[in-house]
Amino acid sequence: MLDNTVKNELKRIVGEANCSFSREDLICYSYDATNSPHLPDAVVFPSCAGEISLIMKMANAESFPVVPRGAGSGFSGGSLPVRGGVVISTERMKKIIEIDPDNMTAVVEPGVVLWEFQQEVERQGLFYPPDPSSLRFCTIGGNIAECAGGPRAVKYGVTRDYVLGLEVVLPTGEIITTGVRTAKGVVGYDLTRLMVGSEGTLGIVTKATLRLLPLPESTITMLAVFPKLKDAAAAVSAIMRARVIPSTLELMDSTSIRCVEEFAQVGLPMDAQAVLLIEVDGSRAVVDAEAAVVNEVCLANGAVTVRTATGKDEVKDLWKARRAISASLYRIKPNKINEDIVVPRASIPELIEGLQAISSKHGLLIASFGHAGDGNIHVNIMYDKKDTVEAASADKAVVEVFELCLALNGTISGEHGVGIAKARFLELELKPEVIDLMAAIKKAIDPNGVLNPGKIFTDKKSMARADMPGPSDTQ
């Protein structure tokens, strides 16, 4: 709870209109895409780093939590105020400050919606690749906090590969700048990379300098249909071995296909065990040649058809379908555990086999789809929370999925982050001394633990307070 002095001070800092304590507003800033709400005590809409700095200083003096929030589209609970306090929404900080075509950089505020930024740079013949499924509404600040990835990661990498420098408000209120505006830079520790993916626990990004690429001249989108899931998985590595790195190499299994087809009706084959959505980009000549290779490799690896999308609408439809999978899975079961594990690309066939074994062992429907090209598979264990037996099996299955993924030299989260969703599994992947080091860094930067508390680390206190839902339980 915030006392009146704090409330009045918040009003003074951001202005009365940009600050709310009303129940209606608190309810609307209590959730993200994990769908497990926690009410904050206040929501503020600051306009600059200076205002955020004042709030952070007050948070340390008055001991209240502060939670940064972009569009609230995260899958790990990064923006949830699990211990109440003040939600700092970046919705007003949405200026694209500059786009510099000569140096191929851009400077943006954190509340800029990714899609709007991409549209703007593409108009100028430039390209900003990170493309999480939420790209039409997520914010760049949130992308940086969670180190968002997306289908294009296979060729272009993830958000961290495009952040050159940051302006950050530290948990103690200092405003610092990190990084450079150049392609190279090794002066001191790489604080930019420390901040990217820190899930809003080490600082609040108030400005970002981003690296841009030239916009590829053309793109070809293909859809390869496989009667066998294993063949599709094997084709992924085969394409790379044929010396083509597609800009996208996405896998959908039969469950995903059926669900999403029901929503989007784009003519996906309902009887196929798997489809690969493949894109190659670059200059016209290169793209044509690479598409031919992809076509050949897919057919050689058991694809029955490879269709090339013709026209913008067909491409748009296929992508709409791909992006809608996650949400449309709820059409089968009311609840799902959604894990974004990653394994080395060549281990995908083993992963798929293992997942099928876990699925039949527990009698649970597991939908798998995602960025096969970089080994990042979204594993969705479908269940009904009200069915306690099923819920318990789902819980067990998750641990087995993680163990499988780690045994294959993978990681338990490729792009969603730990947040509250994976906090209790941290020890599965990280050694105690590594966790201690991370906690020491957190302590050094946020000695009073005011910024986004209850995330990543599973100290007993935060567990008790956070009212943990199931593992990544997204409903």
Binding site: E24, I27, N35, E91, F137, S326, A327, Y330
Partner: protein, 421 residues
């Protein structure tokens, strides 16, 4: 709340992914979570569970919506958002009542096609005292600031003679008359055409006659019920739906058509929602709704009309998709075919032609500033299209587009597609 379980089930389907943030015109103007579907749905859910009382802020957020349906069309989880909003509006109206003027207009004016001729004649005389003609000739400007009108608001003039009172229209009421072999089409005018834009109705009937169909205009028709529905007055909306159903059943027409996207949506879809629960009416509504076609849809898809060059347009024309036609009825091609077929017209698409104009859902009454904020974006896109005419297929959109274009200084004429033919 009526049908509480059904509404609760819809609310539960929302997984809070946030997709609605990318399509909601109100959210884009307001910029806060409370404005998008995810926020509204959560608030309505909290109210339903008794966690949030019917506060002033709650009502404001629920009504901050044009009912354009973009969230519904784009929801990956298939949440029937507009149905949830309608239920919440009904609940608010039931508990708080309707404002007096709204309830008066719904019950006494819109509930009959030829309302209070004397009062309306007076209204006609009064309007020249209160309003002046705007330079653009597309509407009236208030001579002084009035509550509910807002300064600088372009108000559509009441027609000198309402569409349903025109002698040539009255002559078409004889539903028994039948031309040999011609398809019989019953024309539904709607309030926009009847009170504000009879010329759109006249043009519609003109083109139908040129195509050679036999047109009837049942005089017993009343308002489609959408204004009542938006305000949560479902009883009035149902009563209106029933009157229309009876008025048109007696015509034995092959098709029922309208030049208003919103009315068409009501006739096609909403009547089922309003009357479908009643087992005695379900089959009748079904038969009625199946016959309904938007005028553009009827002309192109059913009658094979693609323009006969009677009218010469000679202009670049851009097309605004009314929410209730594009998303609501899935009719996007037919109006474009007609524009492309008009002599001298060059179709020039604007950016986001299907984005809401800002009028709907009673937003232009509940929050005029906000509805104009939405119209600002529309006006910008229309301007950037380089067209000199923006055509659309809904008198409601026409009113709001004229107001918006006038306010933001964009010199583009607004016309109904049928006026170009």
């Amino acid at each position: 709340m009526r049908q509480q379980d059904l509404i609760q089930a819809e609310i539960n389907k929302c997984v809070r992914c946030g997709t609605c943030r990318s399509v909601c015109p109100v959210f884009k103007a307001v910029g806060r979570e409370t404005a998008c579907a995810r926020g509204k749905i959560t608030l309505i859910g909290a109210n339903l569970k008794g966690e949030l009382p019917l506060t002033e802020a709650y009502v404001k957020h629920v009504k901050e919506c044009t009912l354009c349906g973009a969230c519904r069309a784009n929801c990956p989880n298939g949440v029937d958002t507009t149905r949830v909003y309608a239920a919440a509006r009904e609940d608010i109206a039931a508990k708080q009542g309707l404002p007096f003027t709204a309830s008066f207009i719904l019950k006494h004016v819109l509930d009959s096609g030829r309302i209070m001729p004397l009062a309306m004649k007076w209204a006609n005389r009064l309007q020249s005292i209160i309003f002046k003609d705007s330079s653009a000739g597309q509407g009236l400007l208030s001579r002084f600031t009035m509550p509910n009108v807002g300064s600088g608001r372009l108000v559509p003039p009441l027609a000198e003679r309402f569409f349903l009172d025109l002698p040539e229209v009255k002559a078409l009421d004889d539903s028994a008359k039948k031309t040999q072999g011609a398809a019989k089409v019953a024309f539904y005018a709607g309030c926009g055409v009847n009170y504000l834009m009879p010329e759109v109705g006249v043009a519609s009937i003109g083109v139908l006659k040129r195509v050679g169909v036999d047109v009837v205009v049942p005089s017993a028709q009343v308002c489609c019920g959408i204004p009542a529905y938006s305000m949560g007055d479902m009883d009035s909306a149902r009563a209106m739906a029933l009157k229309n159903l009876e008025a048109f059943e007696s015509t034995d027409a092959a098709f029922i058509t309208t030049s208003c996207a919103t009315c068409g949506y009501a006739l096609k879809k909403l009547f089922r929602e309003l009357l479908g629960d009643d087992p005695k009416l379900a089959a009748r509504v079904e038969a009625f709704s199946k016959k309904v076609r938007d005028i553009t849809e009827l002309l192109v898809d059913e009658l094979g009309f693609k323009g006969d060059g009677k009218n010469t347009v000679n202009a670049r024309v851009t097309y605004h998709d009314p929410c209730h036609l594009g998303r609501g009825q899935g009719v996007r091609e037919a109006p474009r075919v007609l524009i492309a077929g008009a002599r001298g017209a060059q179709l020039k698409e604007m950016k986001n032609p299907c984005a809401c104009c800002g009028l709907g859902g009673g937003l232009s009454i509940a929050n005029y500033e906000l509805s104009m904020e939405i119209a600002r974006k529309k006006a910008e896109n229309i301007k950037n299209s380089g067209a000199s005419i923006v055509a659309t297929a809904c008198p409601g959109c026409m009113v709001h587009l004229r107001d918006g274009l006038h306010r933001f200084g964009v010199d583009v004429k607004v016309a109904h597609v049928v006026e170009l033919l």
